[in-house]
Symmetry: C2
Subunit: 443 residues, 2 copies
């Protein structure tokens, strides 16, 4: 007999919060496993959607769960929340809108969608009295979205920096540990399932900038579009760069940084790029596919969050944590006789739009690869001097082939655009075997 038919008073009963998983890949399976094994009392898995669902069916999910290959079965059902795990903009955005419009909250791991359409979707959710949880869209299992929006709400954060792409970090730490060439490290990451067949989304920084855009919104209250963030690829890094970096007490990481302009708050510096970071920095200590987010606030100073930034189980923890948050809040509203909230679980504040700049001042590391001949340093020094850039030091590891000689010049603090102009002129010299590689040295 169904509970609804007993006629007994319902006061002490908690109706389960019904969950549909849309997209049964690695993360979807992990979410299902936590919901089935761990069974947080509030949550009950009722639907699993996937294209061609039969090949996805697993035996450890309870028989009451409906498996479907039609999204309409989910959208027309009475589930309380849809977990969107298909990724990409289409059809995810449309399905999320329809879910919200049909009285469902949404939990998503979709960084591209949230970074590009987050404000509109959160506004729709607010109007509908529904919630959108997107903790899983940034840094997997590390609770950084809730950390920025709840735990650090009392601070005035002005900087967010981090290692937001585990694939790049795996590749770079592999090159660091074994002095492997870039392509060999990519190959291993692909073999281990950390990198896609086409690794451009990761290595060129597009994945990280979507996450940085989300962090800039939730932590710095800056409305920016990910496409405004300058990205530089890690594919220019060679094993020898780690050797030179070590001589400077540094290593190399793909660093995502966003910082409010302290002189006028309408512009934001934001960039995703490989950089030299001191070995003593928390950024340098991030190994393998781990992620790290470091915030700086006016009152609280630096706070660091780190852990597993990807993978089915850690990402599923973020999804289930959002589900529990939504279910608890719904249960409280139920007790008050209201079924709908007017607060989104996370806010993307309607702060002013920010102009994004990729311009910054720092010391720089520049590696040249040349056919050696007398006068090269003099030629370079003349150009740098013409641009007002001071040379700090020149390094050369012994034992290289004179026809393909790498050496490094470190430069005192200058703006990256001035350096780029100088390098534009320097590139015209005929002694280069390959273009110079310049990296900022972060302090």
């Amino acid at each position: 007999m169904k509970e609804e038919a007993t006629g007994a008073p319902r006061r002490d009963r908690v109706s389960p919060f019904k969950v549909a998983i849309v997209g049964f890949g690695t993360v979807g399976r992990s979410v299902a496993r936590i919901l089935c094994e761990h069974t947080p009392v509030e949550l009950r898995l009722t639907h699993v959607y996937n294209r061609d669902v039969e090949r996805k069916r697993v035996s450890w999910v309870p028989p009451h769960v409906e498996w479907t290959g039609s999204i309409e079965d989910v959208l027309s059902s009475n589930v309380d929340v849809m977990v969107e795990l298909i990724g990409g903009l289409k059809p995810a955005e449309n399905w999320i809108r329809r879910a919200l419009l049909s009285g469902k909250s949404v939990v998503t791991a979709n960084k591209q969608l949230i970074s590009q359409r987050g404000p509109e979707l959160l506004e729709l959710a607010r109007r509908q009295g529904e919630r959108i949880g997107f903790e899983a869209s940034v840094a997997g299992g590390i609770p950084v979205v809730s950390g920025l929006q709840a735990g650090l709400a009392g601070d005035q954060l002005f900087r967010v920096a981090g290692i937001l792409n585990g694939t790049c970090n795996y590749i770079l730490t592999r090159m660091e540990a074994s002095r492997w060439p870039f392509v060999a490290a990519v190959k291993e990451a692909q073999d281990l399932g950390f990198a896609e067949a086409n690794p451009a989304e990761d290595v060129d920084g597009y994945d990280a900038r979507a996450k940085l855009a989300i962090l800039a919104r939730v932590g710095l209250q800056c409305q920016i579009h990910p496409s405004d963030i300058v990205c530089r690829s890690i594919s220019v890094i060679e094993a020898i760069d780690f050797t030179y970096a070590l001589r400077l007490g540094c290593t190399i990481r793909q660093v995502s940084r966003a910082e409010k302009d302290v002189h006028g708050e309408a512009q934001l510096f934001a960039c995703v790029q490989p950089a030299l970071v001191p070995l003593s920095s928390p950024l340098a200590r991030v190994q393998g596919s781990q992620n790290l987010v470091m915030t700086t606030g006016k009152f609280g100073g630096e706070t660091v969050f780190s852990g597993h930034g990807a993978g089915g189980d850690p990402t599923a923890v973020a999804v289930v944590s959002d589900l529990i948050g939504i279910a608890r809040s719904r249960r409280e509203l139920d007790r008050l006789g209201r079924s709908k909230s007017k607060n989104a679980i996370y806010r993307i504040p309607r702060g002013k739009s920010h102009r994004v700049i990729g311009e910054f001042a720092s010391s720089h590391y520049v590696r040249f690869t040349v056919r050696d001949r007398p006068g090269i340093i003099a030629s370079l020094a003349t150009i740098f001097s013409n641009y007002g850039i001071n040379i700090d030091a020149v390094f050369q590891e012994p034992g290289s082939d004179k026809s393909r000689l790498p050496f490094v010049i470190t430069l005192e603090e200058c703006s990256n655009s001035v350096l780029e102009s100088a390098l534009g002129e320097i590139k015209n010299f005929d002694f280069h075997v390959q273009p110079p590689v310049s990296l900022p040295i972060l302090v």
Copy 2:
């Protein structure tokens, strides 16, 4: 004209959330400064209580704020939330109870009170429809209470470990960096205001165990009393221990650890003690007065939170973040026409009580200080062997006085109680200049 007198519809107005600060020391001043400078729209400082309040008055607080030396002025006022920053059990507990009973929520940084009376106070708050925020009671500005309860709610955490006392960490990292004696490092910490005149609360572990008890409740759902947690003092550590630790690839930290028994959930290992930690561990990298909390979950693996664990401004960030959380939730309820919640801001789940054990197995480091003579190692080896403890290695730094010779024996994994029995017997030998110092080696 007061807004209340206009008769205009109040729909779009948000009544400010009125805050009283009780205790205007370092943290209280920082909270006031954030509320006055930063002015989060929801919050309005209306009262400051302190004994002998006139000597505390500052000019930068707006004139509408009422300064009082009588707690009755706060308790009988219409403030929405009382921020308790006086510390200790009495009269803080009584004042918090009266605040809750008179319709005020509470935010507190009081680790002793929350660790000892948290469950009762949260139950009272729940009955009253009020909330208690205590993020500031653990690890200052690091948002770990909200991190464990919201961001990691979807995981099943089974271990919490961390550096929870900044004073001890300052002392130990000073000894590590300068090879200073313990007393000199304590003196410097006192001169800098990091340590009390009587540093026992910090160095003997009582401060950290209160925080560990809170983390065990909120993260591991284990009801334990801080007095059940075994504490060992860091005062036995000497500069030479850092030299020996380094030979083992380790350093020394005051480590607070709690771990659920995986075989039966009714007991919890919990301990606060100095320990050798590998240089590669996040625990080893915590410098100065910083704090760090590391959780381990079944699904999300290790997640690390670190930052400023003490100090006025970081602790005030935690207080203000709790205030914002309570104000936002109150505002949502206001919109629904209800003034009271039935959910505490943080839950201390009514999980079963756990028996706390201080028993654990690990490798150990034991430093002996002896008047040298032949046969000492043989005597020690015989006793260890009688207790079934295997010696791993013996180290001796050169150049010590034979009448006061330190040397170190490392032992393979054994239980700490068996080791203590062996050391109890070993202490009877007449070659000791001072009692042996044993430290677990954490991996």
